[in-house]
């Protein structure tokens, strides 16, 4: 257990939350810290139904935990994929590459990456795979199909920005 989630996961999920549920951004820090403390428990909470008592609103969803969980799966997939392709030799380098893939999509890092000239991008086939991974993970969290697809699309959109 750690206090914070992986920075790459945090970056990707924050960007997606910003797109899909900007209202949740003020709570992103608290949610991601809670997620990092116990991811297994987090998954249970995301899947669980609401308490029967309470105010009476029986449905509702905070998207952020699900986004983090899906981003985690996507980042894991990307790492494995890049390793498989043999583009980099060592695990640490793969991490860097994943970071590159993510950071070139982040507006804040655009200038820095452009200056460094280090770019990495995903092929259409890889993006399609990413979408599939994201949808599957979202559905495994009991998200409705349409919401899972929207989440996956937002994630792919973040990863799909072509290198400069």
């Amino acid at each position: 257990m750690t206090d914070n989630i992986d920075p790459d996961v945090a970056q990707l999920s924050r960007d997606v939350v910003k797109d899909l549920a900007p209202n949740e951004l003020p709570l992103f820090g608290a949610v991601s810290r809670a997620y990092a403390k116990n991811p297994e428990q987090a998954e249970k909470v995301i899947k669980s139904k609401d308490e029967v008592l309470g105010f009476g609103l029986e449905v509702g969803l905070l998207l952020t935990p699900a986004v983090i969980a899906v981003a985690e799966a996507v980042v894991r997939f990307l790492g494995a994929e890049l390793l498989k392709l043999g583009e980099q030799a060592a695990g640490t380098a793969v991490d860097t590459t994943v970071h590159n893939v993510l950071s070139h999509t982040s507006e804040a890092k655009q200038t820095e990456k452009a200056r460094a000239g280090a770019t990495a991008s995903l092929t259409s086939a890889q993006l399609a795979e990413v979408r599939k991974v994201a949808i599957n993970r979202a559905i495994s969290l009991h998200l409705p199909r349409d919401q899972a697809e929207r989440l996956a699309d937002a994630m792919v959109a973040r990863l799909a920005v072509a290198p400069g």
């Binding site: 608290a30 609103l57 905070l62």
Partner: protein, 741 residues
């Protein structure tokens, strides 16, 4: 709430102008439905628990040795008193008493264990919930603005001590939940709700205030106690009961036990569960109202409620509503603008109460009989069995008074303000009577009720049974009608004094009167059921049913109940004080307009007393003339026992006739409460006439026998008082006066 200054004297408050929104009545001035329903829930669990543990006892090895003790005691009793069945029976009672006491202790212990487990579950529920749901305190770093807002809301709610706000940031639900135990409360906020604090602050406030309102309304403990009771009941009562059925030695006994118990278990479990859910539902509306009051507007809350998913209010969904732990969205929104539905009580509430009482009655009687086995009682000439019935009736009278009586009390307040009936007393009386009748058969003991196998006898049995229920319903109708009318006087007095009415004397009064009526009718039903099961001739059914009725009515409790009929409305007249200005407690809003009508007239006690004294004076003349006449014809000094009895009955009969005349005269002149005034006159005149009878008897050479005091007094006062009721009612109807107390 409001505190304007509209003069109240000689007027009745009635906010009107039909085309304007009515000001909301203040439900917080009265005990809530949550309290009523929790009371029912507890009563159901205790009574069902008593039977279940009685049944479980029968399956214990101890029960087998008890049977041999019974046989030995019976044998010894026959040997000790071969020709005296009464002494033999008393010996048998004393002999088996230790066994029955152990059984009673076992039953009480079983119920106590259910209650102890319920309390334990209630106490450990908060830490379990915190851990299971991963709830942690909301830190300032997590959502600084929300934390500041939460503190502000606690100040707005005026809570003495702030609850601890907790959340699980991963839980996306848009809800709050107040929970905890006395002295240690929490409000859990869903992550979705915290998001609302940024995008819809007023909606966030509305939901949080609703949760804080649960704390202010003190319903959190009731809620979690209700839930714990249900859980404990399932674990320590229903499950062991089912185990005893499974463990029956033979398939035949398994089948018999299942046939006897399974459907009853299912029905009772269903009722307990539905009552539990009713507890949970009723609190929500009160919390909504309190939250809207704090907020000063119900707009935000109503908007948030608009996002609550709702089921259609038709067909099966109407039934499913009883299964839910929240009222429908529409009902909650309606209650925000009109609180009058909270002042109504209907057939189903009464039926539920009647069922709870009906199911509880046999178990409680059994318990008391077991506890007092071997104890010979001679209180008021009642047997232990009769006393057990009356003690149980007092408990059930309190239960019914707490639920239906207080419901009528609240509805009377709405009627006083709106000028129209908020409830149907006939529906309530019918619901109670049907519930009490059904409860007798649904109760586990109902499995041992015997119906005559002969179709003709069975038909007669059914007819007497239904007749008794009809009589029960009729009496309940009269009592509730009387109570509603008399309560109007008390509530009017509360308006005059500007103080919130205290319900305790009300509950005690109605429970006392109800206890007597329930005691008499249920005792009658039991006796006739026992007679039927013992094969007594059906011709004796009416006698078996009628004897306990007469015994109860003409006993000390009958006298007290009769006195309540006039003392309760009369007491409202005492200590009259009128406060200038409009009282603050009746409404949640400032009434736009007051359409004022005349209040109920006061009871003119001096006039009533003079009628009673006049009647007694007339009576003493008549009775003196009678005694002088008897002396002249020289009958009195050498009267036989029969003649003494005839003279006694004649004197009582004349007294009753004079009381009836006085009651009729009173009712003709009475304004708002003919029955109460007529009963008062008959009662007071009856007391005077009883004294006159006694004194004249001594004066004409009779003995001053103290044993004669009670028969003279009870027969005269009670007979006249009872006769006064229908006479006053009829007189009031014929002279087109309102038929009130």
């Amino acid at each position: 709430m409001t505190s304007s200054h509209v003069p109240l004297d000689k007027t009745l408050l009635r906010p009107s102008l039909d085309n304007q929104p009515k000001p909301r009545l203040n439900p917080f001035a009265f005990p809530t439905d949550t309290d009523f329903r929790l009371l029912l829930h507890v009563a159901m669990i205790i009574s069902s628990g008593l039977f279940i543990y009685n049944w479980i006892y029968l399956g214990l090895p101890q029960a087998q040795s008890d049977i041999s003790i019974y046989s030995r005691c019976q044998h010894m009793a026959q040997i000790a008193y071969p020709s005296d069945s009464l002494a033999s029976s008393e010996f048998f009672e004393r002999c088996r008493a230790p066994v029955e006491h152990v059984k009673a202790l076992w039953m009480l212990g079983g119920v106590a264990s259910v209650l102890v487990l319920a309390v334990a579950l209630y106490l450990i529920a908060p830490p379990i919930k915190l851990r299971r749901q991963g709830l942690v305190p909301i830190a300032s770093d997590d959502a600084p603005e929300a934390v500041i807002e939460l503190r502000g809301l606690c100040v707005k709610a005026g809570l003495r001590s702030e609850p601890r706000f907790v959340w699980n940031p991963l839980n996306g639900s848009p809800v709050g939940l107040a929970f905890g135990r006395r002295g240690s409360y929490y409000v859990a906020l869903g992550g979705g709700l915290m998001v609302r604090s940024y995008v819809d602050p007023r909606g966030f406030d509305a939901v949080v205030l609703h949760e804080l309102a649960h704390l202010a309304n003190r319903d959190v403990d009731k809620t979690y106690l209700a839930m714990s009771l249900w859980q404990a009941f399932v674990v320590l009562a229903l499950v062991p009961l089912l185990v005893t059925i499974v463990l029956q030695p033979t398939p035949g006994s398994k089948f018999a036990a299942a046939g006897l118990l399974i459907w009853r278990v299912a029905v009772i479990a269903l009722i307990v569960y539905l009552v539990r859910n009713a507890v949970l539902r009723s609190r929500e509306t009160y919390a909504d109202l309190r939250a809207a009051l704090w907020e000063g507007s119900s707009e935000a809350l109503s908007r948030v409620l608009g996002s609550v998913p709702d089921l259609p209010n038709t067909g099966i969904h109407r039934l499913l509503a009883y299964w839910r732990v929240h009222p429908s969205r529409a009902a909650r929104q309606r209650a925000l603008s009109d609180t009058r539905p909270l002042f109504r009580l209907g057939f189903w509430d009464a039926l539920g109460t009647g069922l709870a009482a009906g199911i509880a009655y046999p178990s409680l009687v059994t318990l008391i009989l077991l506890v007092f086995t071997g104890v010979q009682s001679n209180l008021w000439s009642l047997t232990t069995g009769e006393l057990a019935g009356f003690v149980t009736s007092i408990a059930l009278g309190l239960l019914i008074a707490g639920v239906v009586g207080l419901g009528v009390w609240r509805a009377t307040f709405a009627e006083l303000v709106d000028g129209k009936r908020a409830i149907s007393v006939a529906a309530l009386a019918g619901g109670l009577a049907i519930g009490l009748g059904l409860g007798d058969w649904i109760a586990f003991e109902g499995g041992f009720n015997a119906v005559p196998s002969n179709p003709g006898y069975g038909l007669l049995f059914g007819a007497v049974y239904v007749l008794l229920l009809g009589l029960l319903a009729l009496g309940l109708f009269g009592l509730l009608e009387w109570f509603a009318k008399s309560s109007g006087r008390w509530l009017w007095r509360a308006l005059e004094r500007g103080s919130v009415p205290n319900p305790l004397p009300i509950v005690l009064t109605i429970s006392l009167v109800l206890s007597l009526w329930l005691g008499a009718t249920l005792q009658a039903r039991n006796l006739f059921e026992i007679g039927a099961s013992l094969g007594v001739s059906p011709l004796l059914y009416p006698v078996l049913a009628g004897a306990p009725l007469l015994q109860a009515v003409f006993g000390p409790l009958g006298l007290v109940a009769l006195a309540c009929l006039w003392a309760y409305p009369l007491a409202a007249e005492l200590g009259r004080t009128s406060v200038k200005g409009f009282p603050a407690w009746p409404f949640l809003d400032q009434p736009a307009d007051l359409n004022l009508t005349a209040p109920p007239t006061h009871m003119r006690v001096a006039r009533l007393a003079s009628i009673a004294v006049g009647a007694a004076a007339a009576y003493v003349v008549v009775i003196t003339a009678l005694r002088l006449f008897l002396r002249m014809i020289e009958v009195a000094p050498q009267m036989t026992d029969l003649e003494v009895l005839l003279l006694f009955l004649t004197q009582v009969g004349l007294a009753v006739i004079v009381q009836g005349c006085a009651a009729t005269v009173t009712a003709v002149k009475a304004d708002d409460h003919p029955v109460a005034e007529a009963t008062l006159v008959a009662f007071w005149a009856g007391i005077l006439m009883a004294v006159e009878q006694f004194v004249l008897n001594v004066a004409f050479g009779g003995h001053a026998d103290p044993r004669a005091v009670w028969p003279i007094f009870s027969l005269t006062v009670i007979s006249g008082g009872i006769l006064a009721i229908p006479l006053a009612w009829l007189t009031a109807r014929m002279t087109r006066r309102p038929t009130g107390p």
